[in-house]
Amino acid sequence: MDTLISLADGFQTALTFENLLLALLGTFLGTMMGALPGLGPSNGVAILIPLAFTLGLGATPSLILLTSVYYGAMYGGRISSILLNIPGDEPAMMTCLDGYPMAKKGMAGEALSLSGIASFVGAFIATWGLILLAPQLVKFALLFGPAEYFALFALAFATLGGVSSTNQAKSAFAAMLGLGLAVIGVDTQTGVPRLTFGEVHLYDGLDFLVAIVGLFALSEVFIFLEHRHGESSASGAKVSVGRLTPPWKMVKETTPTMLRSSFLGFIAGVLPGAGASLGSFISYSMEKKLVDRKGTFGTGDPRGVAAPEAGNNAAAGGALVPMLALGVPGSGTTAVLLAVLLSLNITPGPLLFQNNPDVVWGLIAALFIANFMLLAMNIPMVGLFTRVLMIPPRILMPIVAMVSFVGIYGISGSSFDLLVMIGFGLMGWVLRKLDVPLVPIILGTLLGNTMENNLRRAVTISNGDYSVLVGSPLAIGLWTVAIVGFILPLFLGRFVKARMHARRDDEGSIAD
């Protein structure tokens, strides 16, 4: 009952003219970002962070804008998967498997609208899951002392590579690089500056927002400068959509699939580190095992479109649970959102629900509103977004560059930050060429300090006894999941990856 009252308060916060407008803007821009291959949800949110700060938005409106972008990008990813067989973002990879064959059969419109409905169902169920689970997890949060938090962070890093990455060693390398970058700055446990070289700008450590915008947005521009082709993603390909409503029979047939996939996707999202790619992957494989008796999956089966879309959108909602309740992001994009929260002076975690209920419930209400907007936007207006695929990068990329520079300068007013951003942009460019995923770097930079501090707190409290790290059942449980999550993909990896990457091209250096 309390939950419903809080939710009603949340709707009151979210239903102002400004917030509705922001949600609309966010869902629109998000769908567009998602639709463009290469720009996934992490990039989408990263590119729009400067916009939120430049507009001088408060905490709740900024979050509403950015989570709408997040949900929107999850919707948008499917468009180019279905029409071009190029995943708009990594989680939409599985949608290619049946979406593109459907489009080839002349059923592109049905596939788009059906996947739109599946996305809606997934996101809707996950938002309810968030409402029910997050406050429960908050009560549970008092069980988390420094040792348990350390184990939880280790779990997030261990499962990050997982099934979705091309190369687990590269994921691990990226995470280590991020952890190394996090060391820069004054060490809070001793007050000693580390790796600052007497540069006062580095005393607070690297600003994650600057790192994120550099790594994701600017490196995108560098990649473009290098290729210089200036062609749009859809040029050459024939994009025809056809009818925009799925037949009722198809919706009815796929409903059980959507429900099962939403549930699975949500669980995959809640696990720290795993994220949306895992959600869509698990949902697809499970459906294939359960209902694919005639072997139609992979040849344009509607259920094969509904499952991954419901799964990845549900995972997007699920990933918000640990981010809000424990301050540990469940995916790359939620890591970016976490950085935004921190820079708005809001500390996610058990106290968030107590101290900033307006932020939490306003955000949740906004998710519902955004989801309905997205459904409306993605079925009748899907033709508009398919045209987005035809915007040539020579127009798009200068806008990305401009927003990045103006935005970052607007946040801090420091030219030093611009240099750091360019540095990160160059680093992102090199790493992408080496096919090293970027999300673990951000997670490492963002969580490195907290992880280190929790380790040192735990050991200081126990007077130097390291056994405290496995001193409670909760900690032991978390370590077990972490180890299994790291080792299992090593064995299953080859088999799983072959299937998952069978139909993808070279766009996937950004794992969610």
């Binding site: 004054v186 446990q189 001793t190 607070d204 106290l351 806008i399 801090s412």
Partner: protein, 321 residues
């Protein structure tokens, strides 16, 4: 979208250029939303409401290096500016004392006035067996490993130093033995106190207030010279428990070192008038600020003393040599 974004960007660029030079300016050395930002904005607004300045005070956020970026900017580039003040607090003094602003010292700027203070508290969980400050310090004295004290600032930061000031006053000679665990902010430290990971909390009264109201924690000492007014009067001071320790997280302003005497006195006078106004008393009450009324030379002396005290303790715990 292109046009929308571009228009927003141009508008922002235009705004940045259009802001003139002559208006009074207050630098908040942190991002919007924190204590320094509050100091600038609230004082700017109140000064204007009271008619003490005629134009809106311009607030510029210049974050970085825990205030060091702003300090260096003022010393190196704005040293003669008479229209500039910068928000400061105990954290500024602590970092100056410990040399955490490389190459800068407190003499390079002029300390103008204080606008209030947030006194330190030491608290335990509501169900703790420890009832008074001497009991807690006694426990630390006999077995330092048995008590972990949590606070929201880094080691050597102000929350840490407050506990050490109290420990020192109680006669614990080797203050290094006091086990301090640094958390990211007072809220997190209190959470761990409630979770039972640590035994005591050191922080500011304003941080602790919410948890005292909800009955989760018990304040065993406030580090003020005498009991605070209003609803805070129920908290015992350290002094009345026989421990002469005062820890105030003050808020105030400094100006550039080359500021003329005339401008310096005028600023000190204006902020003094502001402090005396009824409007400011309401602001203080609403934000849990306790009295600390110092202007001009008096404030300069106060900051010098606190820098000295912090240097002494920091040397003892080995933060500086």
């Amino acid at each position: 979208m292109a046009f929308k974004l571009m228009r927003a960007a141009i508008a922002v660029a235009a705004l940045t250029v259009a802001t003139g030079a002559s208006a009074q300016e207050c630098i908040a050395p942190a991002n919007p939303g924190g204590g320094w930002d509050f100091t600038c904005r609230q004082v700017g607004k109140s000064l204007q409401d009271l008619g003490l300045i005629d134009k809106t005070m311009q607030v510029v956020n210049l974050a970085g290096g825990g205030g060091g970026v702003a300090f260096a900017e003022v010393v190196n580039k704005r040293n003669d500016d008479n229209e500039l003040i910068v928000a400061a607090s105990s954290a500024t003094a602590t970092r100056l004392a410990q040399g955490a602003y490389p190459g800068n010292t407190m003499d390079q700027v002029r300390w103008i006035a204080s606008i209030g203070a947030d006194y330190g508290v030491i608290a335990v969980a509501a169900n703790s067996e420890i009832k008074t400050l001497p009991e807690l310090l006694d426990k630390i004295k006999t077995d330092p490993t048995s008590v972990s004290v949590a606070g929201g600032s880094a080691v050597g930061g102000w929350d840490h130093l407050k506990v050490l000031i109290a420990a020192n006053a109680y006669g614990i000679d080797d203050v290094r033995s006091v086990k301090y665990i640094a958390f990211d902010g007072g809220g997190e430290a209190v959470t761990q106190l409630l979770a039972g990971s640590v035994q005591a909390f050191t922080g500011d009264l304003s941080e602790a207030k919410g948890f005292v109201d909800s009955g989760d924690i018990r304040v065993i000492a406030v580090l003020a010279p005498e009991r605070l007014p209003g609803e805070f009067s129920e908290f015992p001071t350290a002094k009345e428990q026989g421990i002469d320790a005062i820890g105030a997280n003050w808020r105030g302003f400094y100006g550039p070192g080359g500021m003329s005497d005339e401008a310096y006195n005028e600023w000190a006078d204006k902020i003094g008038k502001l402090y005396a106004s009824d409007e400011w008393k309401q602001v203080m009450a609403a934000n849990g600020l306790a009295p600390l009324d110092l202007q001009g030379a008096e404030f300069q002396q106060f900051v010098a003393n606190s820098v000295q005290q912090i240097q002494d303790i920091s040397r003892q715990i080995g933060i500086i040599k």
